[in-house]
Amino acid sequence: MTTEATSAEPDLALTGFASALRHAGLAVTADRVHLFLRSVAALDATMTADVYWAGRAALCSGPDDTARYDEVFAAWFSGQRSRGVVRRTPQASVQAALGDDGEGQDGKRTLNVAASATEVLRHRDVADLSATDRAELARLFGTLRPRAPVRRATRRRPSHRGDVDPRRTLRAQLRQVGEPSRVHYRRRGVRPRRVVVLIDVSGSMRPYADSLLRLAHTMVQQAPRAVEVFTIGTRLTRVTGALRRRDADFALRSAGDVVPDWSGGTRLGEVLKVFLDRWGQRGTARRAVVVVCSDGWERGDATLLGAQMERLAGLAHRVVWLNPHRGKPGYEPVQAGIVAVLPHLDDLVAGHSLTSFAELLEVVADA
């Protein structure tokens, strides 16, 4: 990192601190550093508290940043830099976990029908695919055409029907020096409705996590501002930012870097509660189409899950549950988790093959 912090060159120490923060994963940009230096100059650079607050105001951009900020601040200004600033370790194993896990599940069926390979692939369960088929399927995701669901907007737009628009009518009159002329009309336009996708990344959903994230990626690409994606497992992680990157593989890899709990356990009820407390109730889930992608395997008591789904149903416009096992023959919704949530769902859809994903997109678009 930069040079030794001496009292003679406080600016160097401060920019060094800023770059340490950047290494710790905060979005520290040059103009923010500039603002930080100006802030410290306006205060007292020899007072630890002043430097602390100036940095927190200038360099942090959300409550999630503050814990890391505190850590780096303590490490940097206590002089124990030898211990090294906590560099966020990229989770290199993720890509492998997402992509081809060559577990002996790829029992290839011999197909003697005269259907094209692509057509067959569309209907196959994504969990049973070999590595080559997976790559081919990844390409086929590009053929999905998500449509954003719409809602009525607050703003009225000029239209041929609807109610009289006094402003425009008067403006037209004004143009003709006050002579009454054609009456203008207006009515409410449409705007994309928010879609929230919650993807279960626990161990039992592992074969599907990659495809579901790809599905979410196509949805985010189609309406970047109207779709929010979170992963749920043992904790809640927002991956919308990562999925906004255009290239699917790159987006998935960056999503992999932010999610700490791949293939862990599930605490559906608790994590759903965290989502509703922190995001859902404040507005993210309000009047939105919420898609929960999970097999509904809840260890232990499912009452909390049921209660949280009831809450979610009260907030959301429509709640869709995607269960990969639903597409399998002989599936009955009998697991405790699914039984608990079933009364609060608007749709329960399958989600195991590309065709079923296309069907899900239809359900979402028509919501």
Partner: protein
Amino acid sequence: MNAEGVSAVGSAAELAERLRATGYLAGEGLATVGYLALALHRPLLLEGEPGTGKTSLAAGIAEALDLDLIRLQCYEGIDASQALYDWDFPRQILHLRTVEATSSDAVVEEVEKSLFDERFLLSRPVLRALRESPAVLLVDEIDRADDEFEAFLLEVLSTYEVTIPELGTITAEVPPIVVLTSNRTREVHDALKRRCLYHWIDHPGLAREVEIVRTRLPGVSARLAEQVARSVHRIRELDLLKPPGVAETLDWARALEALGADVLDVESAAATLGAVLKYREDTDRVRESLDRLLAS
């Protein structure tokens, strides 16, 4: 209004002192960040749980510095004509008719020019703040507005000027003090965040909350204030749908005061619980453990 007000604040401690005089108790962090916003002419972006005093800080600063508070409440679909300016069409038409009726030899250009006069301009909050600055501009709940509006706001906040095609550019002589608040229903765009000083307001500690109640409601006894604040702190630990904020604490104390209760017991608490909790599920949970919560 006084122009010296802004520059007269020399340190964070002084700002805290002045805010205290208006009844707003700011913590060390908030006072420092607030002072920086004044000293560097940067907008201040405040986030935090509902009811932690984001909006009242703007009111407090306005009162402490003896400036006007201009408030812009954001909502979905808000656009520039509601935030910036609009022309008063009905009055323009009226004016046109009057000109038509009184003078027969009006010159077209002059009539046109008189139509876009200052007196037909409806100043909306942002324009008002620029024209009347020094003033405090509060942009409340920015997270409710659309992305497009954020981009528009970004433009105004970086130059502190606005161009009206018919009139020309209006620039603030002194940049107004801008306070933005957000409840985080949506992530505010990074570009806007980078323009601002950021502060997350937490619930205050017990001692500070007692002090807030005592300052805001001088009629409430020290004992009652302490009891109310302590109970609210315990309620916050209960993991409720909507944990009460400072605003609710004040409401509760006010409600108890109105009922003439000078001590918080199970009976008076049960009667006034509606001031603190706004969900039936929460009320049920708290009611079950009310005696434990009130135990001192």
